[in-house]
């Protein structure tokens, strides 16, 4: 009833090709952005900002990066955390070694460094596909953190390669409090999500999907497979690199290369799978599911146990949380193997008709 596009006629291709062709979507996204940019910084507690929202946004960005590579271009990668590490350490070094370096430029250069490394580790994709490629990207995952610990120059000779991120300051304005950091991260993530959406609806995005769906046909219509795959690796690693820089600078403050381990790569891959491969929205949904749901469940179970006056042994709720979380993952994958984004799409199709059956 509410979500119906009848009466919204498009008379130009420009109107049909806009980002959100349906008016209700435009209102919804406007509202969402208003809440994210205005309401949340005003009212959210600093625990919410630092422990929930900033990591959610950072992981959403990394998921976006992996989704470009895996969901759109069809190249499986397990090196996400390594590319994040490259971004973090590179941004740190640009800040450290070049006096007066603007922090945003450091983030971008960190991303570009990760992009170069990504291209190097993307080269095997020209010969191998699928699971075999995933194993090849594991090389990046093991090699890069090892290198960052081994060569202490990268961490300015600190113990075990820990880097302590410099404070964030842009044009004399210090991003030192949680709301400010949150706003900075939100702005970067929103802009990069917009850029990702634009890329996937332009010719490079179509080339990625063409290579994913049918590479022989893609080649025959003139797409350069090698170039397309390497651009996917570069763009994906750029996103992961910036996410890594934000992870270090805006979220944790100090990180060690071993923090960017295979476990983190897997988490981000799960975010892609649960959110929906090949969907920008899905990257956010997946990141929310994996980062926010466990905490939400934890609170729910603890509060629930307290409300019911249950005297549970210590540790019981945290274990119950893991069980429920695991069950939910399986539930959602059975309901919709194509991820939460597809569920949302189905819901939208249903909403168009609701409350009438036809």
């Amino acid at each position: 009833m509410l979500y119906r596009e009848s009466g919204q006629f498009k008379t130009t291709y420009a109107a049909d090709q806009q980002l959100f062709p349906i008016r209700q979507d435009r209102y919804a996204i406007g509202l969402l952005l208003a809440v994210a940019f205005v309401v949340i910084p005003l009212f959210a507690s600093s625990y919410w900002l630092t422990a929930l929202l900033i990591p959610f946004l950072v992981f959403a960005l990394a998921t976006l990066g992996l989704n470009i590579l895996t969901g759109y271009a069809g190249q499986l990668s397990l090196g996400t955390a390594a590319f994040m590490a490259v971004g973090a350490v590179a941004a740190y070094n640009f800040q450290l070694r070049i006096p007066g370096m603007p922090i945003l430029v450091s983030f971008i250069l960190g991303g570009l460094t990760a992009a170069l490394i990504g291209i190097a580790f993307g080269l095997p994709s020209l010969r191998i596909k699928g699971f075999y490629l995933a194993v090849a990207t594991l090389a990046a995952q093991f090699f890069i953190p090892w290198l960052l610990v081994k060569v202490s120059w990268f961490s300015n000779n600190s113990a075990s390669g820990v880097i302590t991120a410099q404070p964030i300051e842009i044009l004399g304005f210090a991003f030192d409090s949680p709301p400010r950091k949150y706003l900075l991260v939100l702005t970067i993530v929103a802009l990069m999500a917009l850029a990702a959406k634009n890329m996937v609806r332009s010719s490079i995005g179509r080339a990625w999907m063409a290579v994913r769906d049918m590479d022989v046909a893609a080649e025959v219509i003139g797409i350069r497979i090698m170039r397309t795959k390497l651009i996917a690796f570069a763009v994906s690693s750029f996103y992961c690199g910036v996410a890594g820089a934000l992870y270090a600078f805006a979220y944790l403050g100090s990180v060690e290369p071993d923090g960017f381990n295979l476990d983190l790569s897997f988490r981000i891959l799960f975010m892609v799978i649960i959110g929906g491969a090949g969907s920008i929205l899905g990257s956010f949904l997946g990141a929310a599911f994996i980062t926010l749901l466990p905490i939400f469940l934890d609170v729910l179970l603890t509060e629930g146990a307290a409300a019911l006056n249950l005297n549970l042994p210590s540790g019981m709720t945290s274990m119950a949380q893991l069980v429920v979380f695991g069950a939910l993952i399986i539930f959602f994958l059975i309901v919709e193997p194509h991820g939460l984004a597809r569920l949302w799409q189905i819901l939208k199709e249903k909403l168009r008709l609701w409350p009438f059956p036809h």
Binding site: Y13, A14, Q17, A195, A196, N198, M199, R201, S202, S203, I204, G205, R206, A207, M209, A210, R212, D213, M214, V216, A217, A218, E219, V220, I221, G222, I223, R224, I231, V235, G278
Partner: protein, 280 residues
Amino acid sequence: MTSGPHPSPPPSVMGEGVHSPARRIGDTMLSVDNISLAFGGVKALTDISFDVREHEIRAIIGPNGAGKSSMLNCINGVYTPQQGRIRFDGQTFTSMDPHKAATMGIARTFQNIALFKGMSVLDNLMTGRNLKMRANLLAQAFYVGPNRREELEQREKVEQIIDFLQIESVRKVPVGRLPYGVQKRVELGRALAAEPRLLLLDEPMAGMNIEEKQDMCRFVLDVNDEFGTTIVLIEHDMGVVMDISDRVVVLDYGKKIGDGTPDEVRSNQAVIDAYLGVAH
């Protein structure tokens, strides 16, 4: 309408050939000289030569496994023949590569539909025009200036093809959800989107019922007529082949056993033997 050097022929009564062969058939556009292709010990093609003239519809026929698809794959560079040359547009190649073939205006469809299943009809056709897109990655990321302009221009061209093939109602549907006959049509559309000079069709009517075949024939003839596209097609339906093609090449076991107009091929003893078998 025709715009060749010849005046357009008087409207012919249906029945005496679907179109008059006097049309605008020009000089040789593609010639394949002594092509041989082997996979290990299996000889897929042996010493094949034939030519294709501008604006004509050239059929390749032959029993299963005769090497027809391999021939197309050699022409647009998916396979590299061990021997022989391909001349296209005055240039000689000992091997094509698919990208070069595409830039020179060779497009094709596949025997088993090779569409991009996760993408909409519109996106499939837009992908077919990728070589016409020039905007750089940054312009694409911000969807500004050249990229926005280009997307709109190409969309307009693609919509003309969607109109031509009468697939307006499904333009936003992911092709994986479409019925087989429509998918075949979309694949033709994707090839046409590149505005090819030479169109290679690998069994465009396979698995279709009679109405779908008639529609597809009409599209093939219209493409040939309206856009002046030269067409090489592989087809098993002899009725279709004899009706719409100007000249026919017959392959059997990787060798050329016949070449000529449909009537010549029909009365060629070697061709009859290949199709009906001979007593030994």
